[in-house]
Amino acid sequence: MKSIIIVAALLFSGISFAQGKSKEHKKEHKHDVSKEHDHKKDHKNKHHDEKTEEHDEHKAHGHDKHADKHADKNKGKHGNSAEHRQDGKHRNENSIKTEKPVNDEEVREVIDVKKEESRTVLTEAEEKIASAKVKLEELLKAGTITKESYLLTKEKLSALSKRSIDLKLKVAE
């Protein structure tokens, strides 16, 4: 009887000890992983933030400015420059929104937003390339440009078109 009690006590203490140790391990490990992950995220986010800031700045000074200029130029023709500007603003808002992803879900959201943005910009670019090709043909017919200039521009447009297709494939991946 005595020995049974001893065995039971030993068994109980052994299991309790093991469970306590396991919980401690779990806690410790989870803490380590989150810390390590946070550190990695911080590092990557820092890098990403820098890139986004740079990109936004670039956009603000370059692309969007240019888009505004282009929209203003065509104001009389289309009358949708405000819409264009709003679109650009929306894009910038998306970039700001996507600055600091905290968890996996947010990262996935940012990826989806960026992919969608790329698709939209690519579609617009393709449309512009198509209209540029038409314009080029018209200019050649009207004799406004030389054959050499025509060929050079056509080559540039083909290269841009190819790049656009490649990028579309990359986005779809």
Binding site: L11, A18, H29, K30, H66, K114, K170
Partner: protein, 69 residues
């Protein structure tokens, strides 16, 4: 009898230790899997950001060419 009790206690202790170790390894595997998913996602985000930048650069070039025309 004492000997048997000791052996039994040792076996029980070993089993408990094994169970603890198994749980620990399982936790490690789970944590590693989570980490792998997070790393893959960050890599994907980086790649998508790069593509996005390239797309914007292309768009700028197209605008420029159109303006030149």
């Amino acid at each position: 009898m004492k000997k048997h009790t000791l052996i039994l206690a040792m076996v029980a202790g070993s089993l408990a230790a094994c169970s603890s170790e198994t749980e620990h390894v399982e936790n490690q595997i789970e944590a590693t899997q989570e980490e792998v998913v997070a790393t893959e996602l960050m890599e994907e985000l980086e790649s998508v950001t790069e593509i996005n930048d390239e797309v914007n650069a292309l768009s700028q070039e197209v605008d420029q060419l159109l303006e030149e025309l």
